[in-house]
């Protein structure tokens, strides 16, 4: 019994101490407010902060840290690339500034270099180069098939997972988005093995339903589609999640109103979902287009650009010119052209998609 009394005492003491502290703090605040100088300080601070937004300096302070890093590590390389594109970069002598050899992967930057001004020579050269046009064609083909396929699948999945009758939404969503967690090089290696003509799992499954082995990696046509399959596999879930988030922002009343008007499933999609989702859809399409334009690691690991350059992408071509052939000036000119093409593409998409 004594113990329980002690506990009660302690509890009571604690309460009393807290109450005392609270009274003291309120008293302090009242006394402070009563001090004549206090109001003046507060007004002065209010005046000062009211004047602040008018001073652009605050805004510049907020963007300064971003801008310092941006200027040093992004803007400088961009201008340097532009500058280099008018020169021929010749490695002279034996010494290498940097050198790495990982079997299929080989990178070297020569130490001593001579810059010869060639004007627009690099640009003239790329327009006449077959491999440049080949890589442009490959990238365009992959882009034209992969982006619509992926966005279509992602949209269909998002609509399905947003349906009111769907159970286990969280489980399905996680499972479908999981591929994005796979490491770029890791998943490319997995696809390389899955799509192996003799030993691969995919041809094993196909032979089970009586389809002959498909030369996934050795035929020009199939190799491109293998790359498309790999990229689509990894990024569909990611885009689905963004579109799902977009679907959830559409007000339910719009659907109810459409139902009252007797709209069927397709009409609800066409006249409610699609217009409401347009900004999000545009965001996803533009980012996916830029992402696919920049395709590099997948063809690098899975096909190495082959067979007979059927899957070499622009970025991969530039990489070869820069790090294998040391044509840094030419590679820079290619980069400039590439960036201009992607920018024009994105601007067209935004103009077409964002009319209103």
């Amino acid at each position: 019994m004594a113990t329980s009394d002690e506990t009660n005492d302690r509890v009571e003491q604690t309460y009393r101490r807290r109450a005392r502290a609270r009274i003291q703090s309120v008293g302090r605040r009242l006394r402070r407010a009563a001090r004549p100088g206090w109001d003046r300080v507060r007004f002065a601070r209010q005046d000062l902060t009211a004047a602040m937004p008018a001073l652009p300096r605050v805004a510049y302070l907020f963007i300064a840290p971003f801008f310092v890093l941006f200027g040093l590590f992004l803007a400088f390389p961009v201008f340097y690339t532009l500058y280099l594109s008018f020169f021929e970069y010749q490695g002279v002598g034996e010494g290498s500034l940097f050198w790495i050899d990982l079997g299929p992967l080989y990178v070297e930057i020569p130490q001593i270099a001579q810059l010869n001004f060639v004007g627009l020579g690099n640009y003239a050269r790329l327009l006449g180069n077959d491999l440049f046009w080949q890589s442009m064609f490959n990238t365009s083909y992959i882009l034209a098939v992969q982006v619509p396929l992926m966005i279509g699948l992602a949209l269909a999945l998002a609509l399905a997972l947003n349906a009111s009758f769907m159970r286990l939404k969280g489980v399905f969503r996680t499972a479908i988005a999981l591929p994005v967690s796979a490491n770029l090089v890791a998943y490319s290696t997995v696809f390389l093995l899955l799509f192996n003509e003799q030993l691969g799992f995919l041809n094993y499954v196909l032979s089970g339903v009586g389809l002959g082995p498909i030369p996934w990696l050795t035929s020009e046509f199939w190799a491109r589609n293998t790359i498309i399959a790999a990229v689509t596999w990894r990024w569909t879930g990611y885009n689905m999640i963004i579109l799902l988030a977009g679907l959830q922002t559409i007000p339910q009343q719009l659907y109810e109103a459409a139902e009252i008007d007797g709209a069927n499933r397709w009409e609800k999609f066409r006249y409610v979902t699609l217009p409401q989702l347009k900004p999000v859809l545009l965001f996803v399409v533009v980012l996916s287009t830029i992402g696919t334009f920049k395709l590099f690691a997948e063809p690098y690991v899975i096909t190495g650009g082959g067979p007979t350059n059927a899957t070499i992408t622009i970025v991969q071509y530039i990489y070869r010119q820069a790090f294998v052939n040391f044509n840094l000036g030419y590679a820079s000119a290619l980069t400039v052209v590439f960036v201009v093409v992607v920018s024009i593409f994105s601007i067209i998409q935004i103009k077409l998609g964002g009319e209103d």
Partner: protein, 278 residues
């Protein structure tokens, strides 16, 4: 009425069939990778392929560790990605706040210049960046990997869009109470952006996690390798030990899956917290 109900049932069945098919398609490569990691090399290259997990995972793992300290490689990648993500979140939210809530000279041109760099393929900035890092004597350091893309254009774009949704009245009332501009930013603006920050964290982490060519050029010694470099290194040996690569690939997926599971809910609600509608 009955006809309508039957139609609905068919529709439901088709929807489920589609979703489940896609789940299977997404899971098969991951499952296959997991199985491959547990098989000894001889069984791995068998035809028909084995689909039941073996017991050699630990042996493969030991062999992998002997070749390349892959645990350390994963630790490096996680360290770089975490520091990068935190740094970039600070920079992008501060910048985004300024672009969303202040008026200043050349605001639009500055913003669109930043946004335009989104189209730059990072692989191609590798040459000038490498030359720069060599000048600074920063090669083979983590800061050379972390700093260049901390100023992330997609990050500042998303934070700007989302911070626009913070009501000006809220900020104004804080100003009335005498809060400094910086207090307004981190006491009022940031807490309302929690889910957007989580969404951006996933995007940034993933971006750094995927960097391949740039760290390959910058990081020289094996104890500094990140996961993609470690994996590329494994394929570079004279005989390719795919079983070890699969072990490495399986281990490499873990940190990203954990991050994704933890932040997934916020990702869905946060990425469009503001809206892209303008």
């Amino acid at each position: 009425m009955r006809d309508q109900r039957r139609k609905d049932a068919v529709w439901r069945f088709l929807t489920y069939a589609f979703v489940i098919t896609m789940v299977v398609v997404m899971m098969v490569p991951l499952y296959w990778m997991l199985v491959a990691a547990t098989l000894p090399q001889e069984q791995f290259l068998q035809f028909p392929p084995r689909l039941i997990p073996g017991t050699a995972f630990l042996d493969n793992f030991a062999a992998l560790q002997e070749r390349l300290d892959f645990v350390r490689t994963i630790r490096n990648s996680v360290f770089i990605a975490v520091v990068y993500t935190l740094l970039s979140l600070v920079l992008c939210s501060m910048g985004g706040f300024a672009f969303a809530k202040y008026e200043f000279k050349y605001k639009e041109p500055i913003f669109y210049t930043i946004l335009a760099t989104l189209v730059l393929p990072i692989q191609l900035l590798v040459i000038p960046l490498f030359l720069l890092m060599a000048q600074l004597d920063w090669t083979n350091t983590f800061r050379a990997i972390i700093l260049p893309w901390a100023a992330n254009p997609i990050g500042i774009f998303l934070m700007r869009q989302n911070m626009k949704s913070i009501p000006d009245a809220l900020l104004e009332s804080a100003r009335m109470d005498g809060a400094t501009e910086f207090q307004i930013f981190y006491r009022i603006a940031l807490p309302t952006m929690r889910s957007s920050l989580a969404a951006l964290a996933i995007i940034l982490f993933l971006f750094q996690w995927d960097l391949f060519l740039y760290p390959l050029v910058i990081l020289e010694s094996a104890d500094m390798y990140t996961i993609p470099i470690g994996l590329a290194q494994l394929t570079g040996f004279q005989r390719i030990y795919y079983d070890q690569i699969m072990v490495a690939a399986t281990l490499a997926i873990v940190p990203m899956v954990v991050l994704f599971l933890v932040l997934q809910k916020q990702f869905v609600s946060g990425i469009l917290a503001g809206s892209l509608k303008e």
